[in-house]
C-alpha cells in the first residue's frame, strides 16, 4: 500500500472542513511524496477548494461538477469517489470524521471492493496492510484492526489527528467525466437544510470543547447557565437524557447511548450523575471535568478533574473566570 492516496474533501463555509484537513495530514504521514496525494471535491463551484488542497501539499485534485450531487443521496457521491479513486490509481481513500465519512464507507467497501474502517484514531503501515486503532464500546475499549487487500478506505475520528502544516504546491485540477447515476438513487429529494439545532455555537460533532448539563440544573431556564459557560469557552452544548426527556432542550442535544457520541478535547459535565448510558457517549473525550454536588456521583470516577459543589455557584464563577482570561 504505497500507491496514491485519495482524500475526500468536505466543504464547510466555502473551505475544506477541519476533518478534511486532518485527513490530509494522515495522508501525508502515510504517503510521503506529494505526487501520491490526490484530492477529490464535489460541487459546481469547487475551484477554490481544489486550490486549497494544493496549499497542504496535495498535487492533483479531481473535481466532480455534476450539479445533481448538490441534492442527491450519498450513494451518488460514492460513485464519483470510486471513479476518482480509479482514475488516480489510488490504493487508499481517506475521509474526515464526519457523518459523511461514515456513510460513505459501506458503499465504498462494496463498490470499490475495499477493506474499510470508521472512527479511526491511529493509522500505521503493517507490511503490505494498514493497521488502525479505533475506540469501540463507547470508548470503553480500543480495538486494533488489520485491513488487507489492494484497496483500503478509512473514515477518521474527528480531533484525533493534527491539522497539516502548509506545504504549498500548484495542484493539477481536473474535472471527472460525468458518471451515470441510477434513477432510483436520484428520486429521493433533499428539501431543505437546517443549521445546527444546537444553537449558535459549534455543533456537537465538530466541537473541541463540549459543555453538557444534566438534571442538576433543575429547569429549562436554568439551562442557560450551561449555555453561557459554553459560549464563553466557544464550546458546543450537550445534555443528558434527563434534560431532553424533560423537554428542557431538544433531543439533538442528547449525548449518550441513544444520543450523540462526542470525543472532544474537553468535556465538561455539569449536574450529570454519570449513568453508563451517558458515559458511553463521551468517555473517549480527552479530558473530562465534572461539576456535581454529590461527591459519590459516578461521574467523578471517570472524570480527570472534579469540583464537588453547587453548580449554581460554581458555573457562574467559572463563566466569569473564562471570560476574564480570554478577555471577552
Amino acid at each position: 500500500m504505497t500507491g496514491p492516496i485519495l482524500i475526500v474533501g468536505e466543504v464547510q463555509n466555502g473551505h475544506l472542513s477541519g476533518p478534511t484537513l486532518e485527513a490530509i495530514s494522515v495522508a501525508r504521514s502515510l504517503g510521503g511524496s506529494p505526487s501520491s496525494l490526490v484530492g477529490f471535491v464535489a460541487g459546481h463551484d469547487s475551484r477554490s477548494t481544489a486550490l486549497e488542497f494544493g496549499r497542504f501539499g496535495v498535487s492533483h485534485v479531481w473535481v466532480a461538477r455534476d450539479p445533481t450531487l448538490d441534492s442527491a443521496p450519498i450513494a451518488a457521491l460514492a460513485l464519483y469517489i470510486a471513479a476518482a479513486a480509479t482514475k488516480a490509481g489510488a490504493e487508499t481513500i481517506l475521509v474526515g470524521g464526519t457523518t459523511l465519512g461514515r456513510d460513505l464507507m459501506g458503499r465504498l467497501a462494496i463498490r470499490w471492493n475495499a477493506a474499510v474502517a470508521t472512527g479511526v484514531t491511529e493509522v500505521r503501515r503493517d507490511g503490505a496492510a494498514l493497521q488502525v486503532r479505533r475506540p469501540i464500546f463507547g470508548g470503553r475499549a480500543t480495538e486494533t484492526r488489520r485491513l488487507d487487500g489492494a484497496h483500503v478506505a478509512l473514515a477518521l475520528r474527528p480531533h484525533a489527528f493534527p491539522a497539516p502544516l502548509d506545504a504549498p504546491v500548484d495542484p493539477v485540477i481536473e474535472d471527472l467525466p460525468s458518471v451515470p447515476l441510477p434513477a432510483a438513487w436520484l428520486a429521493p429529494r433533499r428539501t431543505g437544510t437546517e443549521t445546527s439545532a444546537e444553537g449558535a455555537g459549534p455543533s456537537l460533532g465538530d466541537a473541541s470543547i463540549v459543555v453538557s448539563g444534566g438534571r442538576g440544573v433543575r429547569t429549562a431556564e436554568n439551562f442557560q447557565l450551561v449555555e453561557e459557560l459554553a459560549a464563553a469557552l466557544g464550546a458546543a452544548v450537550g445534555a443528558s437524557r434527563a434534560v431532553t426527556d424533560a423537554g428542557w432542550r431538544p433531543s439533538s442535544y442528547q449525548v449518550g447511548q441513544t444520543g450523540r457520541s462526542v470525543s472532544p478535547q474537553l468535556y465538561l459535565a455539569v449536574g450529570i450523575s454519570g449513568a453508563i448510558q451517558h458515559l458511553v457517549g463521551m468517555l473517549s473525550s480527552r479530558v473530562i471535568v465534572a461539576i456535581n454536588s454529590d461527591a459519590s456521583a459516578p461521574i467523578f470516577r471517570v472524570a480527570d478533574y472534579g469540583i464537588v459543589g453547587d453548580l449554581f455557584q460554581i458555573v457562574p464563577a467559572l463563566t466569569a473566570e473564562v471570560r476574564r482570561v480570554r478577555a471577552l
Binding site: 443521496p73 450519498i74 450513494a75 464526519t98 459523511l100 461514515r102 456513510d103 460513505l104 464507507m105 459501506g106 458503499r107 467497501a109 477493506a115 474502517a117 470508521t118 472512527g119 469501540i136 470503553r140 475499549a141 480500543t142 480495538e143 484492526r145 485491513l147 438513487w185 428520486a187 429521493p188 433533499r190 431543505g192 437544510t193 445546527s196 439545532a197 455543533s203 470543547i209 469557552l233 433531543s251 439533538s252 442528547q254 441513544t258 457520541s261 478535547q265 453508563i276 480527552r286 479530558v287 471535568v289 465534572a290 467523578f300 470516577r301 471517570v302 472524570a303 478533574y305 472534579g306 469540583i307 464537588v308 459543589g309 455557584q313 460554581i314 464563577a317 467559572l318 466569569a320 482570561v325
Partner: protein, 259 residues
C-alpha cells in the same frame, strides 16, 4: 408496508468488558446480549409505522451465532415483530461488518422489503457500516443518522431529517430504501409478560449465511481496555471563585485544552 428491521445482538450496556484469551476480541463468556440501543429505537419506529399503516408487517432479522441471535429475535417478537429471520453466522470465523451486510443482504433480498430499518451504528463495534453497505448491495438509496422519520400518505413518501455535523438535512424518499436511525427519544416500549411467554414458541425462520460469502477484509488484532481511571482529581477551594480560578489554570497549563 413491509418493514424489515435489522437487529444486532450486543452486550448489554452494563457489561464489564474483559479481553478474550488471544487478546484480539471481547470475552463473550457469561455476557448477556440485548438489542443494540439504536436497533431498539428502530424496532419501535417500525412498530409505530405499522400501527399507523393498516396491513403492514414488521420483519426482524439478525445475523449471528446461537444462542444470542435467537434470543434477541424472540425479544423483538415479544415487542411486536410479526416475523423473525435468523441469518446463521458461520461458526468460528471472525466476521467484519461488511460480511455481516453481505449475509443480511442475501436474506433481505429474499423477503419483501419496502423499508429496511437499521440503527445508525451498533454500540459494540460502532462501525456504522451495515446500513450503507446494505444500500449498495440491495441497489437502494440509503440514509444514515436519520431522526424524525414519518410516512406521508398523501405523497406516499417518507419525510425525515438527516442529522449532520452542520445541523440537519430534510429529505423525502419513496419506498424502497434503507434508513439508519439515530432516534434518541421514541422511548421504546417494554414487552408485556404474555407476549414474552408467547415469543418463546414463535417460529424463527433460519437463513444460512451462504457458503460463497467472501472472506473478511479486516481482522481484529487487539482489544484493549484503558487503564482504569483513577478517579477525578478533586479541586479544593474556599470560594466558588477560587474553584473557578484553579480549574481554569489547570485546564490551560496542565491539560492544555484551551489557550
Amino acid at each position: 408496508m413491509e418493514i424489515v428491521v435489522c437487529i444486532k445482538p450486543v452486550p448489554e450496556a452494563e457489561t464489564r468488558l474483559r479481553v478474550a484469551p488471544g487478546g484480539a476480541t471481547l470475552d463473550a463468556e457469561g455476557v448477556k446480549f440485548v438489542l443494540a440501543g439504536y436497533d431498539e429505537s428502530a424496532l419501535e419506529q417500525a412498530l409505530l409505522l405499522k400501527e399507523a399503516l393498516a396491513g403492514s408487517k414488521v420483519h426482524a432479522i439478525s445475523f449471528g451465532p446461537a444462542p444470542r441471535t435467537e434470543e434477541v429475535l424472540r425479544a423483538a417478537v415479544a415487542l411486536g415483530a410479526d416475523l423473525a429471520t435468523w441469518v446463521e453466522s458461520p461458526s468460528g470465523s471472525a466476521v467484519d461488518p461488511i460480511q455481516v451486510a453481505r449475509a443480511l443482504a442475501g436474506a433481505i433480498a429474499a423477503i419483501p422489503h419496502d423499508l429496511v430499518l437499521c440503527g445508525k451504528q451498533a454500540g459494540d463495534d460502532e462501525a456504522g457500516l451495515v446500513p450503507s453497505a446494505l444500500g449498495e448491495l440491495l441497489a437502494l438509496p440509503d440514509f444514515g443518522s436519520v431522526v424524525d422519520l414519518r410516512w406521508d400518505p398523501v405523497t406516499a413518501r417518507f419525510k425525515f431529517l438527516r442529522s449532520t455535523d452542520a445541523g440537519g438535512e430534510r429529505w423525502e424518499a419513496a419506498t424502497p430504501c434503507v434508513i439508519g436511525l439515530q432516534q434518541a427519544w421514541n422511548d421504546p416500549r417494554t414487552a408485556k409478560l404474555p407476549n414474552i411467554l408467547k415469543s418463546r414458541k414463535a417460529a424463527i425462520a433460519k437463513h444460512p449465511a451462504g457458503p460463497d460469502l467472501p472472506g473478511a477484509r479486516s481482522e481484529p488484532q487487539g482489544f484493549e481496555l484503558p487503564a482504569p481511571r483513577t478517579g477525578a482529581r478533586l479541586i479544593e477551594y474556599k470560594s466558588p471563585q477560587e474553584a473557578a480560578q484553579t480549574l481554569v489554570r489547570i485546564l490551560r497549563e496542565e491539560a492544555k485544552v484551551f489557550p
